[in-house]
Every structure is written in C-alpha cells, then in structure tokens.
Amino acid sequence: MPMRMIWGFFKGTLVLVAKGSKAYYTWVFTLLCFMGIGFLAYLYQLQHGLIITAMRDQVSWGFYISNFTFLVGVAAAAVLLVIPAYVYHWKPLKEVAVLGEMLAVSAMVMCLLFVTVDIGRPDRFWHLIPKFGILNFPQSLLAWDVVVLNIYLVLNLTIAVYILYNLYHKREPNKSFTTPLLLFSIPAAVSIHTVTAFLYNGLAARPFWNASILAPRFLASAFCSGPALMIILFQVIRKYTRIEIRNEAIFKVAELIAYSMFINLFLLGAEVFKEFYSNTVHLAPLQYLLEGLKGHNDLVPYIWTAMIFNVSAFFLFLIPQTRENYVTLNIGCVLIIIGVYIEKGMGLVIPGLVPDTLGEIYEYSPTGIEILLTMGIWATGLFVYTLLLRVAVPILTGEFFVGDDGRTAVIVDTEFIRRADHLAEQSYRD
C-alpha cells in the first residue's frame, strides 16, 4: 500500500513538472540549454584534461572552487530561516522555511557538481567512499567536508520531502520526527561552513588563509548571501504563486542580514588592520588583492566593487526605511549577492594562492570553458530548485494533494504561474 501511495505521488510530481505555463516552459528550456552547453564543456574538459582551464601549478584552485565556497555559504544560510522559525516559533517564517531547505538542497547539488568537475580523476571518486576506498577521516579536512556536505544534503532533503509529503497527505508532519532533525540542522549548517573554512584555515603554507578569523568570516558572509537570495526568491514566489509570504518575514530576514554583514565587515576590517599594521611578508596576498603587487592587479577592481557593494548593502539593510522599501531592498539584495560572490569566491581563493609559496605571481582568470561549465552547473542548481518548487508550491497552497482513494494525486491547477484572471478549479486525475 505505501508503495502505491508513493508511486501516485511520484506520478503526480511528474505531471506537475511536465506541464506548466508558457513562461515555465521558457524558463525550463533556457535552463536546459545552459545545462546542455555546460555538459558539452565538461565533455571537452574530460577529453583534454584540466589544462583547458587557466589553473596551473602556481594557482591550483580557481573558479570552480570559488563557486563551491560561495555555494556552501548559501546552503548554510537556509538555517537562518530555520532558527527563528523552529527555535523561536515565529509563525511568519515557519510556513516557508521549507523553501529555504530546498534552496539548501539545490546549493548542495551545485557544490557537489563543482567539486566533481574540479578533480583531476572523477573516475576515481569511489576512492573517497569508506570501506571501498580510503577516506582519510579525521585527518583530512576534505574528508570531513565530504561527510558533512552529504549529511547536510540528506538531512535537508529528508526534512523537506517529509514535510511536503505529509502536507500532500493533508496531515501535520510528525513533530517528534521533524523537530530533532530541524534542530540538528542548525549545527549541521554551522558545521558545513566551518569545515569548509577549516579546509582553508588549516594550511600553514598559505598565510592568507591561515588566519583564525576565517571560519567566523565564512559564517558571517554566508548569512548575508543565502538569505539575500531567499528574499528575492520569496518575492518571485509571492508574485507568481498563491503562497503567502508576509512582509514581516521578509523584513526580519533583511534585518538579520544587516547584522551578519556588520560582523562580516568588522572581521574584514580586523584582517586588514592586522596585515597592514604588522607589515610582515604575509601582507603580500592582501596587498595583491586590494592594491596589486608588482604591477599585477587583475583582482583589484573586482574586490573594490565587492567592498562598495557590501558596505552600501549594509546601510540599505540597516536603515529601516530602505530596508522596508522594496526597491532599495532588492537593490541591496543584488548588491550583497554580487559582493559576497566576489569576496568569498575569487576574492578568497586566488589571493590564498598568489603569490605562491616561492613568491611567484601568476594571475589567474577563468577561461571560456570554465565559465560555460560554471554557468551549466548554476543552471542545474536553478533547475533542481525549479523542479522542487514546482512540486512544493502546489502542496503548500493545497493544490496538490492525495485524492480520496488515498493514492491518486489530485492536481488542481497545472499552471505554475497564477494568471491575473481568476482560474476555474479544474481537477486532473491520474
């Protein structure tokens, strides 16, 4: 019996994702195009080796790992919604926290894809699986990362699917199952980003990374970028579906972003002071990033753009008038997402490797293939989120639920986007 119920649910989801409005089709088709191009780029990379990227011995990690680092932060930020919702039982967020968890899932998928395309021998990925291969746990931080990222992915997927499936069956999810998992997801979110930070932090060879401040900075900037993305997504969802998201919820998230950005800027200031004032040889990477070093200054315009964006966004989020005005709020969100993407992506990975351990400066900038492949992976993540939303939104609005026989799915309205005119209720039977 349970199998038939699940099968009914599954078939319902297939119908949902396969049918939608014109805009939906256009969106999904665009994503599939980018995914296709990314896939071809990956085939090209597999054939020729990583030499088609701009990474070389001197800068051995680049654009892929930059994106990976940024996205781990986004994934961790789903927790920012969970904490007020489930720890403080703040109702406005509680209803939509599951949307945040789905974002975490999509971000995790992207992270795993970025790591897969970055390693030199993806055919040997099984070497990482304990018992089959050797996982150097607990000595290697990368082994830790493999463990915690997968745990976090499964955790969020389980919670989201469990809640949604229960809502589909028109019953309240069992709190004694969800509450421990949700509470566990808070340290899990902190863990994924702390482990990723420690991955960089533990390397004595790279003084730019070997700073205790790295883990707190990661968390602070993660709690800026993820929720900013969520705010934009909330507005999109609110506009195009029947899901209600109160302004209160959005403004609260924005306020929390303001505090995170303050901490982020403060920690950055602390770093800058320490390096410039102490003026040791370890100033070189920060100097390369902010001023340029020996005539090499490719990253300087980017990082200053990021700084300006971050500080502006901080004020926009801090001042209640700009925070609660949707124009300035959205500007702030875009600024923060771009700012943190630069600061925590290339602005973190590249200065760690430049100058290299023997003082050489190799200026890295991603090749076309790297960019195409990266866009393909982002498209994949958006595609995953779209599909998840396509199922979750109807469940949350009560338009996708189990029929009276207990197994067939009922879809009230296959239109993903709510039309201006009132829609008559139509039911589709499987």
């Binding site: 030499i51 070389r56 011995d57 001197q58 800068v59 190799y362 200026e363």
Partner: protein, 185 residues
C-alpha cells in the same frame, strides 16, 4: 692547625688536579675524519687512498721529463717567454710555476716540505693552502659527487674541476628557464 690543614688538603688537592688532567687528556676525542698526522721529518705517511681518475693532462704533455730531462732547470722567478706561454697563472699572489712543480723532477709536484708527490696525489698539494676544502673533500662534502651513495663513492681530483693555473670557475650559460604557467597550453 694551619700546617695540618695544608697537609690534609694540599696533597690530595694536587693529586686530584693531576688525575683530572690525565683523565682529560686520555678521554679527549681524536681529531675528526682522516687522522693523518704528518711526521715531523716530512716523510710521507700512509694516507687513505682515494680512487681518483687519471689527472686531466693536456694530450701529449706528460711525461714532462721527456723535454725537461735535456734542459737545465732555471729556478729564477720569471715570466716564461719560450714555452708554456699559453698558461696564464691566475692563482693567488706571488706564485710561479716552481712553487708547485718540482724543479728537478718535472714529472712530480712538490709540497712545501720538499716532499715530491705524484700528479695523482695533487690534492695533497692543494690541501696545504686550502685545508678547509681538503677536509671537506676527503669526507665527500666538497666537490662533484658521483658513484654510489652507500657503496663506492667516486672522488675527483681537484684539478678535474679546477684548472690549477686559473682555478676560479668561469660563469657558464644556464639551461633554459621553465615555461611560464600562462604559456603552458
């Protein structure tokens, strides 16, 4: 009381001092590596033989006595004008040929003590002034290292690398620099 004190402490004190001195001398570590003390009369002492290759003579120049047995040795310090004009001596100050080459047996070199040595032992001659290099060379720390690191090591003569008449190494052309990372395709 004073005399008793003296008798009580003086003799044992001196005895202890003497004992200490003897013990110190007896337990002093022997000189490091080599341990070749030349006897005062300048006679050659048995020294560890180093497996060196044949001295790098200019072809045809050895044995020198082929020409020199006919000629009367002229020990006056001068610049040579008739022969060996291609040799420019650029080795320290106030040097000339017979400071190293033996005056009466041109198939030999001579040490400061007057002892004649064969060209195969020329390192002993160099080692007189360049003692630190000689010490290092005997242990294998100075000079080009070939052979077996845990077996028979090959030693080279000083002159295999250093021209004895103009010993300072000349700069040489370096091998190509590595390809820059941006140029690796």
């Amino acid at each position: 009381m004073g005399r008793d004190c003296l008798r009580h402490w003086f003799v044992p004190g001196v005895a202890t001092l003497v004992l200490c001195l003897v013990a110190g001398v007896a337990t002093a570590a022997p000189p490091r590596a080599g341990g070749d003390a030349a006897k005062p009369n300048g006679a050659s002492t048995p020294e560890k033989q180093f497996a060196v290759p044949t001295p790098p003579f200019t072809p045809g120049i050895f044995p020198c006595s082929e020409c020199h047995k006919e000629m009367k040795p002229n020990p006056k310090r001068r610049e040579l004008k008739d022969e060996h004009t291609n040799i420019v001596l650029n080795h320290g100050q106030w040097r000339w040929c017979l400071d190293c080459h033996d005056t009466y047996d041109r198939d030999r070199l001579h040490l400061v003590s007057g002892e004649r040595i064969r060209f195969e032992e020329s390192y002993r001659l160099c080692g007189q002034c360049h003692g630190d290099k000689y010490r290092d060379w005997k242990v294998g720390v100075h000079g080009k290292r070939t052979g077996m690191w845990n077996g028979e090591k090959q030693y080279l003569l000083c002159v295999n690398c250093h021209n004895p008449h103009d010993p300072r190494f000349k700069p040489l052309a370096p091998m190509p620099p590595p390809v820059r990372p941006g140029d690796i395709r």
